[in-house]
């Protein structure tokens, strides 16, 4: 479980997040929605320790992970798939996956087999360099690499970016499936509110660094004002 309390992050004089609080729970997908520059990525980066918050606190379970080193947060079971997927192009698919397993005690070989079963397209091309993969395949690889360490929390930053609608839809179904199957706490940052809300249980809407709405995903999806002003959804 991830709990963010009164989090404020500044980039120099610019206020990226102010007084943001929310909670994401196991077995549930929590969507973080909002326009470009709303602070969605910053929120994930703060959870992973990539940016230092000015004030507030972040808890993993009962433990504060604020001001912990990124690699140690990862080792506690927080898998973060960054925007642009973070696949290392100069490494092979298998090397990328093996890299994901260092954060945990899982057996690398068993982990690889598990992911190849889940994503056969990766298994078939395990020795190939990642530069040969399509956007959707790279997203699969990024997901597999995050899951191989058997994380408790999965932070996804714009997984649908650059993907065709059909691929996005399959990806979202997969996220929901994995969330249920592994009792994962999923925090799903998306600009594509429609796709995200379809699979989310909870949602947080950010606007210019502040929370303008949070709660049940269906309620937010049906709120006319929110849809109109913040989510860019037309009736």
């Amino acid at each position: 479980m991830i709990r963010v309390e009164h989090l404020t992050v500044n980039y120099g004089a610019i206020n990226a997040l102010s007084d943001v609080s929310f909670e994401a729970n196991p077995g549930r997908v929590t969507a973080v929605l909002g326009a470009n520059g709303a602070g969605k990525s910053t929120l994930l980066r703060a959870i992973s320790g990539l940016v230092a918050p000015k004030s507030g606190d972040i808890f993993l379970g009962e433990r504060s992970i604020l001001s912990m080193a990124t690699e140690n947060i990862a080792r506690l079971g927080v898998a973060h798939v960054p925007e642009g997927r973070g696949v290392i192009h100069e490494l092979t698919i298998e090397e990328n996956l093996r890299l994901g397993a260092f954060a945990s005690e899982v057996d690398v070989r068993a982990g690889l087999e598990r992911q190849y079963e889940l994503f056969p397209v990766l298994g078939d091309r395990r020795k190939k360099y990642c530069s040969t993969l399509s956007g959707g395949e790279r997203q699969m690889l990024a997901m597999a690499r995050a899951l191989i360490s058997d994380p408790k929390v999965l932070l996804l930053d714009e997984p649908s970016l650059g993907l065709a609608p059909q691929v996005t839809s399959e990806l979202m179904n997969l996220i929901l499936e994995l969330c249920h199957a592994n009792d994962l706490t999923v925090v799903l940052v998306e600009q594509n509110a429609k796709s995200a809300l379809r699979i989310s249980h909870d949602a947080v809407v950010l606007h210019l660094g502040t929370v303008v709405a949070s709660g049940d995903a269906d309620t937010i999806a049906n709120d006319k004002n929110l849809r109109h002003y913040y989510l860019g959804l037309v009736q």
């Binding site: 990862a74 490494l91 090397e95 954060a103």
Partner: protein, 298 residues
């Protein structure tokens, strides 16, 4: 056959390779640092010189040659780690010029300290392996037991480094830390530790090169590694800066080019060998001979 091994061509090839091996090791050490931290270390040669001098001092006190080689390598490891921690770590994320200025400055400091402590005279280590060239049916062959050891050592180190980067978990983490530090951190890789290990490894490989130079008949003096560093740097660039195998082959090519110029043209022009090779390679294959050019797609 004996005639062939003693022919002028083979003399030049053996002499060129013996010198080239030293360039190869320096190039390899530069590639390790480049691969793991994306810094070009201008103090590489001076660090190696310093670590070998420490080992050599113990030889003067009567320690066995092999133990001294091990000692020097060990000092190199510590020295590399220390340098990364103290001098290089504050520079990450800063413009590349900062690392250049710091490593060039460090080079000057190390050479000055070495001259102060050990004087600037050439020092030479007596090796347990003979440096006397073989004779085959009365004809000279420019190979000695020590030169053969030199080749074998370089091959072992090259295979060790290439294998480490290519096949081990540590090597994978080292590469990932250099290619994408932030992503590596997100995956739980202890990137800072990897950077230190990269520098340690690199300094140790460089130290082997300096110790070979000190064991050779011309010995080692504090600024001796400057010229070797330039050749090693050219070798690394010729090989593509990312390929351990490329660095080694680049070093051997420069050794051969210098030797052939020396023998057929003029000793003064020998250092041109590396430069000519550099120009030719940059014109024909600017990414280096052994780089798999993976184009980055976003």
């Amino acid at each position: 056959m004996s005639q062939f091994l003693s022919s002028p061509i083979m003399h030049n090839i053996f002499a060129g390779l013996a010198q080239g091996v030293i360039y190869s090791l320096v190039a390899l050490s530069l590639v390790i640092i480049w691969q793991s931290t994306h810094v070009l270390n201008f103090a590489q040669g001076a660090m190696a010189m310093f670590a070998s001098y420490v080992g050599m001092t113990e030889i003067d006190r009567g320690l066995n040659y092999w133990l001294c080689l091990v000692l020097s390598i060990f000092v190199g490891l510590l020295f590399g780690g220390f340098t990364e921690r103290v001098l290089i770590r504050p520079l990450y994320g800063k413009p590349e010029i900062n690392a250049i200025v710091v490593t060039v400055g460090f080079l000057g400091v190390l050479e000055a300290v070495a001259q102060a402590v050990w004087t600037s005279t050439t020092r030479n280590i007596a090796t347990p392996l003979s440096q006397i060239y073989f004779h085959n049916q009365g004809r000279l062959v420019l190979l000695s037991p020590f030169v053969i050891f030199q080749f074998a050592l370089a091959i072992v180190i090259m295979l060790f480094v290439a294998g480490l980067f290519r096949f081990t978990d540590l090597g994978l983490q080292l590469r990932a830390s250099a290619l994408a530090p932030e992503v590596a951190r997100l995956l739980g890789v202890r990137v800072n530790r990897m950077l230190t290990i990269g520098w340690m490894l690199s300094a140790a490989v460089g130290t082997v090169a300096a110790t070979i130079v000190a064991s050779g008949s011309f010995g080692l003096y504090p600024s001796d590694m400057d010229g070797i560093l330039i050749a090693g740097f050219i070798a690394a660039v010729v090989g593509g800066l990312e390929s351990p195998v490329g660095a080694v082959i680049g070093g051997l090519l420069i050794g051969l080019a210098e030797q052939f110029i020396l023998s057929y043209w003029s000793a003064d022009l020998a250092p041109l060998g590396g430069i000519i090779l550099l120009v030719v390679v940059l014109m024909l294959r600017p990414q280096g001979l052994f780089t798999k050019s993976v184009s980055r797609r976003v």
